[in-house]
C-alpha cells in the first residue's frame, strides 16, 4: 500500500468514509424525528460512532464520545444534547449546531465531511434539531429484528447482487433500511460489498456470507459462488463427510482431486495424528501390505499409540496456557501436562475432561487439573478462556460494550462470568501453588457498566438460582455437556476439522457466531451430532475424519480446483509445525535434540511446556507458541526469512548434517549399494521410493568428486560424506519434506 496515499487519505477521513447522499427512508412526514429510530442509524452509517472515531475507547474524539455503533442511544443522546455546554445542538438555528457543522465539515472536522448537506441524512438531522431533539417516546415502536433479502443466493464469479434490508418494529411496522445498514463479507477475498448493499463476487468459488448490521441487530445473507465445472468420477463415499463434501462440490461445480496414493496417505496421517513421520519400517510394511483396509488399520494403530497422546497434549496444553513463568512452575506444569496426556491416552470423554478442568478443586498434587486456575486467575479471564476454548465464542468485546457482531451483550458477559465468582484459593505448603475450592456463597458479579449485580446465566439461557453450597461451575459444566448444547460439540469438531484440513468449517475456528456461518453447515451439524452420539469420544472424531476420502484426497490440484480454498476439493498442504519439523529433521539426519533437564532423546512433540523454546532457536523461529493465548493462532505458521535462513545455514541444523554417527556418516561407511541407501533416505523423508530420475540426480550428486579450497580433489570417502550431507540438506529444504501434503 502506498504510504503516501494512505497519509493523504487519512487526514481526510476517519473510519468509514461514507458520504450519505442517497435517499434514505425518512421518518413519516408527520411524525417527529426520533433520536433512537432515525438519528442514531444515520450517525452509525456515517461512521461517527466507529471504534476509531467518536466511539474510541476512553474519550472518543476531542471530548465528544459516542457508544460503539450506537448500542447505547440513551448515552449518545445525553452527550449530544446536554454536554459540550449545549453548543452541539442549537434548535434556534439548527444548521449552526456544532454537530451539523462538523458532520458537514463546514467547520474543520478531523473526520472530514460525513454528511453531505444535500443528503437526506443531513436534512433529517437538521429537522430533528429544529423539532427540539426528541429522544423518542416510550410508546414509539421498538426495533425488534432485521431481515435481509435474499437470504440465500447463488452468484456466479464476477457478478453482483443488490441486498435489501428490512427493519421490523414492535408495532409490526417495517421500514426499508437498506441505505442505512452496514455490510461486511466474512471472506473479503471472495466478495466485496459497498455502502449501498451491493454484493460483488470475485473469482474464488465457494460459500461466503455477508453480515448485515443495523442498530444492534444482525442478519446474514449467504452466497454460494459456483465454479460450474462438470463434476464426475467422484471417489466412492466412505462416510457422511464424503456425502456432504461431495454434494457441495457438485453443487458448486468444483471437481475434487483423486484419492492420494498410499505413501502420501501414510505420511499425512502419521503427521496429523501422531505428529511424526512414519518410521522406515512402518512405511515398508504399509506399502507392502495387500490388505484392502490397511488405511483404516494404520489409523487405528496411530490412535492407540502414545504418540497420539503426546501430539494432542502438545496442542491442548498450549491453549490451556501451561506456561513456565517461574522456575518453580515446573511441578505444576509437568503434572498438568501429564494429566492432559493421560486423559487423551485413556480417551477420556471430552465432556468429562472439560468438566474436570472447569470445576477442578484440590491441589496440584491430588488434582493436576487445578493448574489451569493458577494460570488464569480472574473470573472474567476464566470465563473468556472457557468461552473461546470450549464454546468457540469470543466474549471479550462484550466486557465493555455490546458485541459488535453478536447477540451477546454486557449482561451476557457478566452473567457468564458469575459462574466463576465462587472459586476460592488458599496457599499450600508448595510455594506458588494454591488449593482451589468452592467458596460457599451466592455467585454473582457486578456489571461494570450498570453497577448492578448479575447472577449466573449460561449463554442464551435464563438466570439460575444456585444455592450457596453448590459449586456454580458444576452447573455450567452441566449446561455445556448437555447433548443439546449448541456450542461444545460444534466447537470441538470444528477445531479438530481444522487440525486435519488446515481450515475450519468456520474460520477462525473459535469464532462461532450467527454472523460467521460455516462454509458447509450440514457437515458441521453432522460432525457435531456424530461426536455427541459417540459420547464425546475424541478418537471417534479423528477416526471419522481420517477415514473419509475427503481427507485422503490428493494435494495435487486438477485443472479446475486449484482456486478452491474452502471446499476441500483437494488437500491443502501445510508446513509442518515447529516441534514436528524439528523431530522430522532429527529423524532424517539421525540426530536428536537436547532439552535441558529432560532425558536425552526427548522429542520436541512431547515437551511439557513452553520453557524449552528459550534454548531452542529452531522452535522459536518456526513459531512454537509461548502458551500465552487461548487461541491456536499464537502458533506462527507463516513463513519468514528467519526460517529460510535457519534451515539453510543455522548452526544447529548444520551440526545435525555433519554429526558423528549421523546418517551422512553411516551412509558413507555403509557397504550397501548407493541406490539402496538413496531408497532408504527417500522412504524416511517422503515415505516413498525415489523415481529413476531422482536416483540418477541424487546418486550423481553424492558421488561427484568434490575439491578443496585449492581445487584439489578430496579423498573419495570425505567427498562422499559431503555428498550425503549435501543431499540431506537438499531433501530437508524441499517443499515435499517441509510440508504435510
Amino acid at each position: 500500500m502506498s504510504i503516501q496515499m494512505r497519509r493523504a487519505l487519512s487526514t481526510a477521513v476517519c473510519g468509514v468514509a461514507f458520504l450519505w447522499a442517497s435517499a434514505g427512508q425518512a421518518a413519516e412526514p408527520g411524525s417527529p424525528v426520533s433520536f433512537v429510530n432515525d438519528i442514531s442509524p444515520i450517525l452509525t452509517k456515517a461512521g461517527c460512532n466507529s471504534g476509531s472515531c467518536h466511539a474510541k475507547a476512553g474519550s472518543g474524539q476531542r471530548g465528544f464520545k459516542l457508544s460503539l455503533l450506537g448500542f447505547e442511544p440513551q448515552e449518545d443522546y445525553e452527550h449530544i444534547v446536554k454536554e459540550g455546554r449545549g453548543r452541539r445542538v442549537f434548535p434556534a438555528a439548527p444548521e449552526e449546531s456544532l454537530l451539523v457543522l462538523k458532520a458537514a465539515n463546514t467547520v474543520p472536522h478531523g473526520g472530514g465531511m460525513r454528511l453531505d448537506p444535500q443528503s437526506e441524512g443531513y436534512r433529517q438531522l437538521v429537522r430533528w434539531i429544529a423539532e427540539g431533539m426528541a429522544f423518542g417516546k416510550d410508546s414509539d415502536p421498538k426495533l425488534t429484528s432485521i431481515d435481509v433479502e435474499p437470504k440465500r443466493m447463488t452468484l456466479p464469479v464476477h457478478s453482483s447482487q443488490q441486498l435489501k434490508v428490512t427493519a421490523h418494529y414492535s408495532d409490526n411496522s417495517t421500514r426499508d433500511v437498506t441505505p442505512l445498514a452496514l455490510y461486511e463479507p466474512n471472506d473479503k477475498s471472495m466478495a466485496e460489498t459497498d455502502e449501498a448493499g451491493l454484493v460483488r463476487t470475485l473469482d474464488i468459488p465457494g460459500n461466503v456470507a455477508v453480515m448485515v448490521r443495523y442498530q444492534g441487530k444482525v442478519s446474514v445473507s449467504s452466497a454460494s459462488i459456483p465454479l460450474g465445472a462438470t463434476v464426475e468420477n467422484l471417489p466412492p463415499s466412505k462416510n457422511f463427510i464424503d456425502d456432504l463434501i461431495f454434494a457441495n462440490l457438485k453443487r458448486i461445480g468444483v471437481p475434487p482431486s483423486p484419492v492420494c496414493d498410499d505413501s502420501t496417505f501414510l505420511r499425512r496421517v502419521s503427521l496429523d495424528i501422531a505428529g511424526r513421520l512414519p518410521t522406515l519400517e512402518e512405511t515398508k510394511a504399509f506399502l507392502a501390505s495387500p490388505s484392502p483396509d490397511k488405511r483404516d488399520q494404520a489409523i487405528e494403530s496411530l490412535l492407540s499409540s502414545s504418540d497420539y497422546a503426546d501430539f494432542f497434549a502438545n496442542k491442548w496444553t498450549a491453549i490451556l496456557k501451561n506456561k513456565r513463568d517461574e522456575a518453580s512452575d515446573i511441578t505444576a506444569n509437568f503434572a498438568f501436562h501429564s494429566w492432559v496426556r493421560d486423559s487423551l491416552l485413556a480417551n477420556k470423554p471430552y465432556d468429562e475432561m472439560v468438566r474436570q478442568l472447569l470445576a477442578a478443586t484440590g491441589t496440584i498434587v491430588d488434582n493436576p487439573a487445578v493448574a489451569w486456575y493458577k494460570r488464569v486467575k480472574e473470573p472474567n479471564q476464566q470465563m473468556e478462556d472457557v468461552a473461546q476454548l470450549f464454546l468457540g465464542v469470543r466474549m471479550q468485546c462484550a466486557q465493555c460494550h455490546h458485541h459488535p457482531f453478536e447477540r451477546w451483550s454486557q449482561w451476557d458477559y457478566y452473567s457468564l462470568t458469575a459462574f466463576f465468582t465462587q472459586v476460592g484459593r488458599k496457599p499450600t505448603s508448595t510455594a506458588g501453588e494454591d488449593l482451589i475450592f468452592h467458596k460457599r456463597g451466592i455467585a454473582q458479579t457486578e456489571n461494570k457498566k450498570t453497577r448492578l449485580p448479575v447472577k449466573p446465566a449460561a449463554l442464551g439461557t435464563p438466570t439460575l438460582e444456585i444455592p450457596p453450597d453448590d459449586d456454580p461451575r458444576l452447573r455450567l459444566a452441566d449446561w455445556m455437556s448437555d447433548k443439546t448444547n449448541p456450542f461444545l460439540a460444534k466447537s470441538l469438531v470444528n477445531r479438530y476439522w481444522k487440525h486435519f484440513f488446515k481450515r475450519g468449517l468456520i474460520e477462525p475456528e473459535d469464532d462461532i457466531r450467527d454472523t460467521n456461518p460455516p462454509t458447509n453447515p450440514e457437515l458441521l451439524d453432522a460432525l457435531a451430532r456424530d461426536f455427541t452420539e459417540h459420547n464425546f469420544d475424541l478418537k471417534s472424531v479423528i477416526r471419522v475424519i481420517t477415514q473419509s476420502h475427503t481427507y485422503q484426497l490428493s494435494a495435487m490440484p486438477n485443472e479446475h480446483n486449484a482456486v478452491d480454498r474452502q471446499n476441500f476439493s483437494h488437500y491443502y498442504p501445510r508446513r509442518m509445525q515447529a516441534e514436528v519439523l524439528l523431530d522430522a529433521v532429527n529423524q532424517l539426519t539421525g540426530a536428536s535434540s537436547d532439552f535441558g533437564d529432560l532425558p536425552p532423546g526427548t522429542r520436541a512433540i512431547s515437551l511439557p511446556d513452553n520453557s524449552y523454546n528459550r534454548s531452542s532457536p529452531f522452535l522459536k523461529v518456526f513459531g512454537r507458541p509461548e502458551s500465552s493465548s487461548v487461541c491456536e493462532c499464537e502458533r506462527v505458521q507463516a513463513s519468514s526469512l528467519a526460517q529460510s535462513l535457519h534451515l539453510m545455514n543455522a548452526a544447529d541444523v548444520k551440526a545435525k548434517l555433519t554429526m558423528g554417527n549421523g546418517v551422512a556418516e553411516s551412509l558413507t561407511k555403509s557397504e550397501l549399494p548407493e541406490p539402496e541407501k538413496l531408497q532408504q533416505l527417500y522412504l524416511t523423508a517422503f515415505s516413498r521410493a525415489p523415481t529413476a530420475e531422482e536416483l540418477q540426480v541424487a546418486g550423481d550428486s553424492v558421488l561427484k568428486v568434490r575439491t578443496n579450497a585449492q581445487g584439489q580433489p578430496l579423498d573419495p570417502q570425505q567427498s562422499k560424506r559431503m555428498g550425503y550431507e549435501d543431499l540431506l540438506w537438499a531433501l530437508i529444504n524441499t517443499k515435499e519434506f517441509l510440508f504435510n501434503h
Partner: protein, 460 residues
Amino acid sequence: MSRRGFMQIGLTGMASLSWPGLLRLRAENALKPNSEKTAIIMVWLNGGLSHVDSYDPKPDIGSEYRGPFKTIETNVPGTRLTELMPMQARIADKFTILRSMYQKAGGHPAGSMQLLSGDPDERDKPKPKLPDWMSVAHYLRSKDGKRTNPLPNYIGVNPPLEYNGPAYLGESYAPFSVNDDPSRPNFEVPNVGLADVSESRRLSDRVALRKSLDKMERAFDKEGELGALDDFEAQAVTLLTNPQTRDAFDLSKEDAVTRDRYGRNRWGQQLLLARRLVESGVEIVTSALNGPLCSRTNNWDDHSVNCHIFDALRFRMGYYDQAVSALIEDIYARGLDKRVLVVVTGEFGRSPKIEFGRSTGGGDASGPTGTLQPGRDHWPRAFSNIWAGGGIQTGGVIGSTDKRGEDVTERPCGPDDFLATIYHHLGIDASKVTINDFNGRPTAIVNNGKPIAELMGKAV
C-alpha cells in the same frame, strides 16, 4: 490505493486480510522505489538516562537534587546541556530535545512496554501483550509490496528485546539481530554473505540440487501464502551468497576517520553500523547502548546499589556523547536527514532527588560492597529524549519540567504521542490503523496519541 482498499485494512485489521486480498491490494499500489521510503534509527538506553544530569539540567536546585555536573552552552542560544555532552552541545542545532516526556510505569518491563508498545498497563509483566512499534512498522511495511532489497527490513544492532517484541504479530516480525560487537576486529554477522568462497559455492550447489529434486511445486498455491516461502528462500540465498549484502555489514568499508569519529568502541561502531544499514535500504533499525561501557551493571539503571551514579555517568557519557553526536552529524552530512529519523531514549528518567545506598558489589563506577554511594531511582513522571533528522525542524526544545525536573509543566507528551510521532514519520497514520489480536479484536496501534507537532517533519 483506493479509499476502499484502505478502509478494508483500517477496519478489519491487517492481520485478518487474506493473502489474495493482500495481493490485490498490492497490485493496486504501484511500487515505490526503496529510496523514497522513510527509515528510522532508535537508540535505546535501557534502564533510563538521568534527564537532570543530561538534557534537562537543573543547576539552581538544592544539593539533595543537584548532581556535580556544570552546564555548558550549546550552539543554540539559550539551550544548555550538562558538561557530560560537549560534542552534542556543538551540534545542538541538529536535534530537538523533548523535555516533557512522561509515562506511567515505574518498572523496567512495564515502562518499556508503555513506551515501545503503548501498553497502558502500569504493572510489570514478563512478556509484552502488544507488539512494539518496530514489529508493527515492519509488519505494515511488509504489506507495502514486494521488497527487492535482500536485506531484512528490520535489523537490531544489539536490539532491545527483553521487554518488547512482536506479540500477536508473530516471530516473523521480530528483528534480524546482530549481536556481535561490531568494534571487534573479527566481527561476524551470522547468515550474511558467507565469507568462505568454498562454503558459498557449496551452498549454491545445494540450492541447485534442491531445485532439481523438489517435485511438489504443483501442489502449492503460488498465489497463496506458500508463494511467500519462495520469496523468503530466494531472499535467504541472496543474503547468504551475495557479496553486496555482506558489504552492508562490513565496517571496514568505512574510512578510518569516520570510524574514529563514532568512537572505536562497541557503542560507536553499533551506531555506525546502524547508519550504514539505513543507507543500504534497511528501514527500521534499533540499537541498545548497554554492556560494559555502561559501568558495572551493564545498563543505565543507576541506583546506588548498582553504582555511583555520577561516576557511572562520567564513565560512560564520553562514549555516548561521541557516538550519538557522530550519528546525528553523519545523518546530515550524508543527506539522510529527510529520510531517516533518529530518536534516542530510555524507558524513563531518573529521580531528581539523589538517594544514597550501599553498593552491592564493586566494579566500574561502583565502590566495594557496602560503600555508601549516590544513585537515582526510576522516574517515569518526567524525562527527556532527543530527535534528529526526519525532516523535522531541529535546534529546539519542546516542553519543560518543574524546577526540580520532577513533573512536566508544559507540553506533556506520553507514550502514545511518542509512538504516533514515530509512526507519522513512517507514513503510518496511527489513529486509523488497527491490527487484530489473538482474539480477533481490532486493536489500535496507538490508543489516543497525536504526533508531536514540532517533531512532524516534511517527510519525503
